[in-house]
Structure formats: C-alpha cells, structure tokens
C-alpha cells in the first residue's frame, strides 16, 4: 500500500467513525474511541516501510467498508465446518458478521456476556484493559481502528478455581452486498486457579470479500490455565487480523494452538507477558498455504519475571505463489533469571514461487537463561517420497502424507489427545495437491 493510498483508506474509515452514534455509551469509551480515531487519522495504515508490516499485502483491505452497529439483520451462523473440533459439551458462542449472536446458560462461576452487558459489573476491568491497548504509530493502526469502533465484544470470565470446561466460538460471515470489515473485541479473564479451553473456529463460505479485525485480551490470574485453539478455514477472499495479548500471573499457563488452513490474508499478533514467576506460555501453530494466500504469525513473549518458560513452535507448508511470515520474538528482561525459552520454525516449500520469511529474535538481558532457537525452510525429502511410492502410494499420496506428517509435529504437542486427533484430521484434509516441483522430467 502506498503512503497516500494508506492515508486515504484511513481517512475513509475515520469518516465512518464520525458517523457513529455514541450517545448511550460511557464517557471513557467515547474519549477512548476519539483518541483512537485520531491516531488512525494521523498515522494512516501501515505500509511497506514499516518493518513489522513490510510483507503484509494490505491493498486488499482498501475497498472494504466498515460496518457499524444496527445496520442490518444478522442471520444465525450456519456452520459448514467439516468436522466438530470441540467436545459436544462445549458451550457454543456464535459471532456472525462481528456481532455476538448467542449466549448460553453457563455453569456457576463462569460468565459469558457481551461487552455492553459486561459493562455493569466489569466496567473497571474492561476499561483498564481497553485503555492499555497500544495504539501508537502506524504499526498499531488496526488496533486503533478496532478501538475507534469499540462496540461489539465478548466477555468470558471464570472465577477463582473454576474448572470452566470448554467454549467454542464460531466466527462466520453472512452473505453481504458490500465488501466489509468488522471489528470485534474478546476479553478472557481467568481468576486464580481457573481453567478454561477456548476454541475458535473461523469460517466463511460466502463469496464476498470481508475482513475481521479482532483484538483479544487475556488475563490469567495466579495458577490459571487457558488452552486457546484457533482453526481458520476461511475462503481466500477473507482477511483475518487478530491481535491477542496475554498477561500472565505467577504459575499461570497459556497454550495457543493456531491452525491456518484457509484465508487470503491472515495475520496473527500474539503477545504474552509473563509477569509472575513460574508462568508458562506455549504458542504453536501450523499453516498450509496455496494459491496467493498470505499467513503471518507475529509472536512475542516478554519474560518479565524470573523462572518462567515459553515455547514458540510453528510449522508452515507453502505451495503456489503463497507467502508466509513468522516473526518470533522473545525478550528476557533483566532479572528474569532462570528463564527457559524455546523457538522453532520449520517450513516446507512445495513450489519455487512460494516464499517464507522467518525471523527469530531473542533478546536476553538476564542470567542463567536456557534458550534455543531454530528456523528452517526446506523441501520434501525426495528419498522419502520414493520410499513411499515403492510401497504402492501414488506420488501425490506420498507427498500429502509427508506434508501432513510435517504439520503433525504441531498437533503432537497438544496434551488433549482427542482434540489433537480432530485437528489432525482437519490438517490432513487441508493438505495441498502440489505437483512435484523439479527434477522429474526424466
């Protein structure tokens, strides 16, 4: 996106902000929006000169219209997901076109509400979370956009010690006349010792261009545990931008497992902050790309406190003219002694036109830190392909089997084996049929 183009798209979105009717909202929210809208208007959208965004093909977002509240009737989610990924007992929350559709009865100690509904009891917590969102500079333009349109949101709260089971969030789009961009915010608050699994599935089977810009804010109290799974199977006309920040108290545990098996432009920012001793963050994902799709994982773990552990583990498969980005950062601050940090990103290029940019960044200012990192970009092992073929598998079958196996390294790490098995099936189905690349002309 050129500088001028970036400004005019931001201007267009700024005008949509000006048209918002905010009269019923609390004052802090109005001024938060106003400040965010100003940031957006001043800084514009990210462009190629901004290091963090230099690969992201934002051009496809330029023509999208912002949808503000109460503009349309929203039909219920009609899921086409090929397989159930959450256990049948999971609570289901539908978010269609950026609007919360359903709320279920929740067990004691678990609260699920919309942002508006949560304002009464949770106003102070939500406000401080919203105000903590970094909006400065063009690199944070989508956070500013999201905040300027702060309206639709989901609050999940589990009280101290509550074993809250699992929640399935189904994100979907309905057919719409206009190409649209929706903003949404998710708050997940787990008090000390609470446990929860949140499984998000993103799908969009409709043909229209659309985009979803989601900010998720997670707070984990002492010893709390959140298992966070994302499975994204959108059409390649969909864009998905997520920004997830996790603040972790002592001995808390956050695991993220992201599977990007669809989508045209996908970017996940995941920032975990380990603020109490013994906190643990495990952030992993697999993506499978073909065509001219783009998936970007920007992961950052901040070791603030001593004795914390973190892992980043990503596997990418890239065919066609697709492009992938992995940017994995770990910051071990002074005093965060005894931290353990692992990073691994391996990628398979199935086509000579695909491109992967992988960048691990480790910054260590503490003592007795155990750190390891590795990043590779390679091709399928042709000896293995031949071996499988000599046993009767077709060339395509052999390649699919090897490619899937490569991605299973991610599902293998899930402790919940039933969930892992379901995810493996989805992965297997997502394997591209890429013709072998070179050296087979003989």
């Amino acid at each position: 996106m050129s500088n001028t183009q970036a400004l005019s798209t931001a201007d267009k979105w700024f005008r949509a902000y000006q048209a918002l009717d905010q009269t019923a909202d609390p004052g802090w929210m109005q001024s938060l929006r106003e400040n965010a809208a100003k940031q957006l208007s001043v800084n514009g959208l990210p462009h190629r000169k901004i290091e963090e965004w230099k690969y992201t093909p934002l051009r496809r977002l330029e023509n999208l219209e912002l949808q503000t509240r109460n503009q349309r009737e929203i039909p219920p989610v009609d899921t086409q997901f090929p397989a159930a990924i959450a256990e049948p007992s999971a609570l289901v929350i539908d978010i269609s076109d950026g609007s919360l559709q359903s709320r279920q009865e929740t067990p004691d100690g678990l609260t699920i509400n919309s942002l508006a509904g949560g304002l009464g009891k949770y106003e102070d917590r939500l406000r401080s979370l919203c105000e903590a969102t970094d909006l400065s500079g063009p690199g944070r333009a989508f956070a500013a956009l999201n905040t300027a349109f702060l309206d639709q949101g989901l609050l999940i709260h589990a009280g101290a010690g509550v074993k809250a089971g699992s929640i399935l969030i189904r994100w979907a789009f309905s057919p719409a006349e206009a190409a649209r961009l929706d903003n949404f915010r998710v708050f997940v608050l787990l008090d000390a010792g609470a446990e929860l699994a949140v499984i998000e599935q993103f799908e969009s089977t409709v043909g229209t261009e659309n985009a979803l810009n989601v900010i998720s804010q997670v707070e984990l109290g002492k010893g709390a545990a959140l298992e966070h799974v994302r499975v994204q199977l959108e059409s390649d006309r969909c864009s998905l931008l997520t920004s997830t920040s996790i603040r972790q108290a002592a001995d808390s545990r956050y695991t993220y497992s992201g599977f990007d098996l669809g989508g045209g432009l996908v970017r996940h920012e995941i920032d975990a902050s380990l603020t109490g001793p013994g906190a643990h963050a495990e952030i992993r994902g697999a993506f499978v790309l073909d065509g001219s799709r783009y998936v970007d994982n920007h992961v950052s773990v901040d070791h603030v406190s001593a004795g914390c552990t973190s892992q980043q583990f990503f596997r990418g498969v890239l065919g066609g003219r697709s492009r992938g980005v992995f940017n994995g950062r770990a910051l071990i601050r002074a005093g965060a002694d005894g931290s353990v940090v692992k990073q691994s990103n391996a990628n398979l290029l199935l086509s000579g036109l695909a491109e992967m940019d992988t960048k691990p960044e480790l910054e260590i200012y503490a003592d007795e830190v155990e750190a390891s990192h590795g990043a590779t970009v390679g091709q399928l092992d042709e000896a293995a392909v031949f071996y499988l073929r000599t046993r009767g598998l077709s060339d395509a079958q052999a390649r699919r089997m090897l490619t899937a196996a490569f991605c299973h390294a991610v599902t293998d790490q899930l402790e919940n084996r039933t969930l892992a098995d379901r995810l493996s099936v989805l992965l297997d189905e997502a394997m591209p049929d890429e013709p072998p690349e070179t050296g087979r002309e003989d």
């Binding site: 092992d381 293995a384 031949f386 071996y387 009767g392 089997m401 196996a405 003989d442």
Partner: protein, 258 residues
Amino acid sequence: MLEIKNLHATVGGKPILKGLNLKVSDGEVHAIMGPNGAGKSTLGNVIAGRDGYDVTAGEVLYKGADLLQLEPEERACEGIFLAFQYPVEIPGVNNTYFLRAALNAQRKYRGEPELDSMQFLKLVREKLHILHISDDLMHRAVNEGFSGGEKKRNEIFQMAVLEPSLAILDETDSGLDIDALRLVAEGVNRLRSEDRSIIVVTHYQRLLDHIVPDVVHVLADGKIVASGDADLALKLEEKGYTWLEQGGIQPLNEEARV
C-alpha cells in the same frame, strides 16, 4: 517373472550398469553377490523405478511386459518390492498408518476391497507373530530412530504384509546378528512359492545357509560376470572376488545369460 536384457544404466550421468543380463523364473530365488560399488543397489533402484537412475539401453521385462515405463507405485502394485539397503526414516508418519495406506493402495489397484483398520490390525498381528517382531515397531514413525537391525526387520515385515510377486532384498542381512538374520531368512522362506521370485543381494554366504538360492550370480562392474549354483557362493566366501578376477571360474552359464 523377470527378464533383463543388456541393461545399461547411468546414475547422475555416470554409467553404472553396463550390459547386465538376468533371468529369474517364477518360484526361483536368486542371490546376487559382488564387490562394493559393482552396481547391485543400482540394479534394485532401476527395477523399483527411482528418479535419476536412467536406463540408456536394454530392456526389463516383468511378467512379460515392459517394466520401465511404469511409475514406481505401479511397479509396487504389480507386485514388485524392494527392501532397501538403507531404509529411509520418515518422521511423523506412523508405521501402521503408512503400511495400511500402502496395502490399500495396492488392493485398490488390483480391484480388491480395502481393509478397514480392524481387518488390517488382525493381519498385522498375524505377520508380527509369525516373524517374532514386537508390536512396538507399529506404534513408531516409519524407521525413525530404528536401529539398523530394526530397520531391516521392518522391511521384511512390510514385505510379509504386502506379499509381492518379486522381492529384491538389498543387503537386508548386513549388520544383523544371528537372530535377526534368521528372521530375515524366515520372512523370505515363508514367501517362497511357485508364483513368487526373490532376488537376494548379499555379501555373505551365511544368509544363504538359511535361504538356499536356486542360482547365484556375481555382479562386477555393472555386469553379471558369473553364475552358478549355491556352491558358487561358498567358493566366493572362501576365495574372495579376486579369485574370480583371476579367472577362477568359467564364463557365464548359458541359462543365466538368457
């Protein structure tokens, strides 16, 4: 079963097989011996259809038809099995899953119904039991982290499950202790039947104590330079290949020459 006439092949442009003739009839077991670098593995790879192994002259007939125009998987489905000298490690692909997919691909090719996982498990248990192989092999990724002996056992196990018409065992006995060697021999002997043929590539006579071959060939510098009965292997063991080079044996017998 297999008829190779005047086979010339290059590997990476370098001539390796230089006019090789070999005829293996139904039900026969042939042993191929020969010095390192003679082209034994190259022969196996050419028969299996590996890329980069280019046939520049000659022909290979399998069950009377041209083998060389088939893809590797078609050859497998037609009943050819190569036990690799160096089986490939395939991380992340479960042995059971892989072998069921392979067997079902072959069954499908032959128009037979595919086996579901229960049926397959039953078959696998039988074969494991017969071959005295522990079933933990089945829970691991294909050859990953297997010891040399385990890899060779796994090749024999695959052969037992896939029941090929023509099996080529490329130094499957190398580096095996006596128990594993017996197992390999057992696997081969069980497969022996009137409509199956087996080519055993080996350096050592000791395997041939357990698998008595119908014909023994010596492959040197890309050609079969001598053929004989099982006694030839004994003589080679005793006197070494230099004995051959010094003209210790008559030229090829006519049968092996085709």
